[in-house]
């Protein structure tokens, strides 16, 4: 047992730190730091810089642009990226559809889709949830009927994040209504420009537009866009969800938020003293720091264990990472609100051409909406209750 990093690992970390902090434009990183809205162009620009270095797709097979990194290096890459406020490369491209195509797609699909996904030439979104199929995802009803060389898709997806930016959507569709619910599902790639697709925004409680409803009305999809075998989509979906492992805790992002809270709490005064010198506030923050350090160590344990696991068989402990990681992220948004205090109240949505100075302290405008918005993190990707179900079954054997 050696609980310290090696010289090589430290050198890699320094290299990553330097790269993220010098190559990704400060303008974009500042937006992430302050919780400002990122444009589609920002996201794409940042990903292309990463991709030029081969760092957009480290988790992919090496022949498709992956990196032969050790789990510790992958961890450091994510940690440094998040701490430097670099926008994560589009998750739908990199951790979701990319690995599925690389693993289960045919050569033509790999050649066609992978390089474009890596470079954000295609912006992907995910068509999984439906109005009647949230936690019980396998009950989904969007239908794909085979007609000759095509599928005809009818149905509705919901909570489709950034569908308004997307060029493509990867969908779970029902291809065999007679089969048991997990066994009649296929994994289909659909061009968002296909006639019959309608995207309708859902405004969330923070006032933002991240998620959408996507309607499919007799949408004709070439059969060649089926990934793997028909009716095996559920297996691919499980593979996909299992792939999102170590980044899920977002430890680096929480570290960055703590640094920012400290920085702002040192400027914000209550009476004659900076907020950061208030013992109660400091202890509340320290309490979260302890949880986060414990989570970081847990994550490293999961990372170290990954070497010994079969591909696509994630450590069920990664559910613990999501459980704790989300609660910590949410708690930090509460503390950020506390920093701002009553100046959390003015509602200041980002508007184009807005020239008036912001009301209240720095980051006041984002504190409330971020708190509201982050309630989502314990809901998406399998709610924390579902994560507990998974742990109860997979780890505890209950």
């Amino acid at each position: 047992m050696d609980l310290t990093f090696t010289q090589e690992e430290f050198a890699f970390r320094d290299e990553a730190r330097r790269f993220f902090r010098t190559e990704i434009p400060e303008r974009i990183r500042n937006k992430v730091a302050t919780g400002e809205h990122l444009s589609k162009d920002d996201i794409i620009a940042s990903q292309r810089i990463l991709n030029a270095r081969g760092w957009a797709t480290p988790n992919w097979p090496v022949e498709w642009g992956g990196q032969p990194w050790s789990p510790v290096q992958v961890y450091m890459y994510q940690d440094e990226m998040q701490q430097a406020h670099v926008p994560s490369p589009i998750g739908f491209n990199i951790t979701m559809v990319g690995p599925v195509i690389a693993e289960f797609g045919n050569d033509e699909q790999k050649r066609r889709f992978l390089p474009r996904a890596a470079n954000a030439d295609d912006f992907w979104c995910q068509g999984f949830s439906e109005p009647g199929s949230g936690s019980d995802l396998a009950s989904l009803r969007t239908r794909a009927e085979r007609r000759g060389d095509t599928y005809v898709v009818n149905g509705q997806k919901i909570w489709t994040t950034l569908a308004q930016y997307a060029d493509w959507i990867f969908c779970l569709v029902r291809t065999d209504p007679a089969a048991k619910k997990q066994e009649g599902i296929s994994f289909l790639l659909i061009d968002m420009k296909t006639p019959g697709i309608t995207v309708r925004p859902i405004v969330t409680i923070d006032g933002g537009r991240e998620v959408n409803e996507v309607f499919f009305d007799d949408v004709v999809v070439p059969a060649e866009n089926l990934v793997g075998q028909e009716n095996k989509g559920w297996d691919y979906a499980k593979f996909l969800l299992g792939n999102e492992r170590t980044g899920i805790a977002r430890v680096g992002a929480s570290k960055a938020r703590i640094a920012r809270i400290k920085q702002l709490a040192a400027l914000e005064r209550i009476g004659d003293q900076p907020l950061i010198e208030d013992a109660r506030f400091r202890e509340k923050l320290a309490e979260v720091e302890v949880e986060l350090k414990a989570l970081e160590m847990t994550q490293l344990r999961v990372v170290a264990d990954e070497r010994k696991r079969a591909k696509g068989k994630p450590n069920p402990a990664s559910s613990i990472l999501k459980l704790k990681g989300t609660v910590i992220q949410q708690r930090l948004t509460e503390l950020m609100m506390e920093v701002v205090g009553p100046y959390v109240m003015p509602y200041q949505p980002p508007e184009e051409g807005q020239n008036e100075p912001a009301i209240g302290p720095d980051c006041a405008a984002a504190a409330g909406p971020t708190y509201f918005n982050y309630r989502k993190v314990s809901i998406y990707g399998g709610s924390n209750e579902i994560q507990r179900n998974i742990i109860a079954k997979a780890i505890l054997g209950l």
């Binding site: 047992m1 609980l3 400290k262 720091e289 414990a294 160590m297 170290a304 459980l323 507990r388 109860a392």
Partner: protein, 378 residues
């Protein structure tokens, strides 16, 4: 970064785990509790035989030169076994103080005898008013020829009743809470002027109230009056060891409780089939895993050369252990229902040990305050 044990560490773990499984069943432990010392001299002899009593000492002192990782392995197993012997007091605390503060001659005299199980030590430090402030020492030491004379009262001295020698903090100069002027003295536990009142603690271990009234013949470890830094280092290492013990205690509670959920039938099925209980079982596991992570962190950082970095890490770990320990202990009792409340069932004994660990060298709130004052971890 590598969480795997080396072959030697694996061997150590296997042998300690086997020792606990063979020797420290719940019924066996009850017998040890009833022995005159409140623990087992046989077990103690066996620890010596296995080399556990010299584990952290250098080979020249009859030890194995084990690192903090080796101590962690042993303490976790001892936590599972809820062992009663004065291992923590003698080897971790006492041996640590000798290693960190004593002269080479003193080390050469004492460490081999500790390793052989011939000398037991206790750290007489706490005073009624001091709580967990290591610098708050009212007991005094004054020089009298070649040795020193101690006056003052020390409380809740772990295994102070059975110790052969006492390691006593006493002030040689300065005001009551000054960092300067704290000395560390070694004195025979039966020296004239030393009065001991031994008693059991809530968790079945032993402690003593000890008074020093003109107790002579004490010898200083290191420069008299400059002992605090070494004491702090040893206490931090001891806290790391306690964290490991606590992980053993918590893991045992978690496993026993899970087993109970799978076997206890109500409403015609195992109660573990109820989702409300499943989710609580998951939260229990999460609390244990978070604690385990912080025990590893404490182990990694307990020898850190920068005392402030070390302090931050150790305090953070103690916070996590305190929080997780309380949660796991209370839930373990609750999920068992009535049987968890009984003296004849083991889970309550783990709960009590866990509760006492929180009180040792600073509870969770104390360490949270320390960590906050030091600016946190990140």
């Amino acid at each position: 970064m590598d969480f795997d044990l080396t072959d030697e560490q694996r061997l150590l773990k296997d042998s300690v785990d086997r020792l606990i499984a063979d020797r420290y069943g719940f019924e066996q432990r009850k017998k040890y509790l009833a022995e005159p010392d409140g623990w087992s001299r046989d077990a103690w002899a066996q620890y010596a035989e296995l080399g556990l009593l010299g584990l952290p000492f250098a080979e020249e002192h009859g030890g194995f030169g084990g690192s903090t990782v080796e101590t962690m392995i042993v303490m976790e197993a001892f936590g599972r076994g809820l062992i009663l012997e004065p291992y923590f007091a003698t080897v971790v605390l006492g041996g640590g103080l000798i290693r960190r503060a004593a002269s080479p001659a003193q080390q050469a005299e004492l460490l081999p005898r500790i390793a052989q199980g011939q000398v037991k030590l206790a750290f007489a430090h706490l005073e009624r008013h001091s709580r967990w402030n290591l610098a708050d020492v009212a007991a005094t030491a004054r020089q009298d020829g070649a040795t020193w004379v101690l006056d003052g009262a020390k409380g809740v001295v772990l295994h102070g009743d059975c110790a052969d020698r006492l390691l006593v903090t006493a002030r040689v100069a300065g005001a009551r809470q000054d960092r300067d002027g704290v000395g560390l003295f070694l004195i025979d536990a039966v020296a004239p002027g030393v009065t001991r009142r031994g008693y059991p603690t809530q968790d079945g271990l032993r402690a003593a109230e000890i008074e020093f009234a003109g107790a002579g013949g004490a010898v200083p470890l290191g420069e008299p009056g400059q002992a605090l830094s070494a004491i702090e280092l040893v206490v931090d290492e001891a806290i790391a060891a306690l964290c490991a013990e606590a992980v053993g205690v918590m893991a045992a509670m978690q496993e026993i409780t899970l087993d109970y959920l799978k076997t206890r039938q109500q409403f015609g099925r195992p109660i573990g089939q109820f989702q409300a209980l499943q989710h609580r079982a998951v939260d229990l596991l999460t609390a244990v895993e978070q604690a385990r992570s912080m025990a590893l962190f404490a182990t990694m950082m307990s020898g850190h050369s920068d005392p402030t970095e070390r302090r931050r890490a150790i305090s953070a770990a103690k916070v996590q252990i305190g929080r997780s320990g309380r949660h796991v202990g209370q839930e373990a009792i609750q999920l068992h229902g009535g049987i968890g409340m009984t003296m004849e069932y083991k889970v309550g004994h783990y709960f009590k040990r866990m509760t006492m660990i929180d009180q040792m060298f600073g509870d969770a709130d104390h360490h949270l305050g320390t960590l906050a004052r030091l600016g946190g971890l990140f």
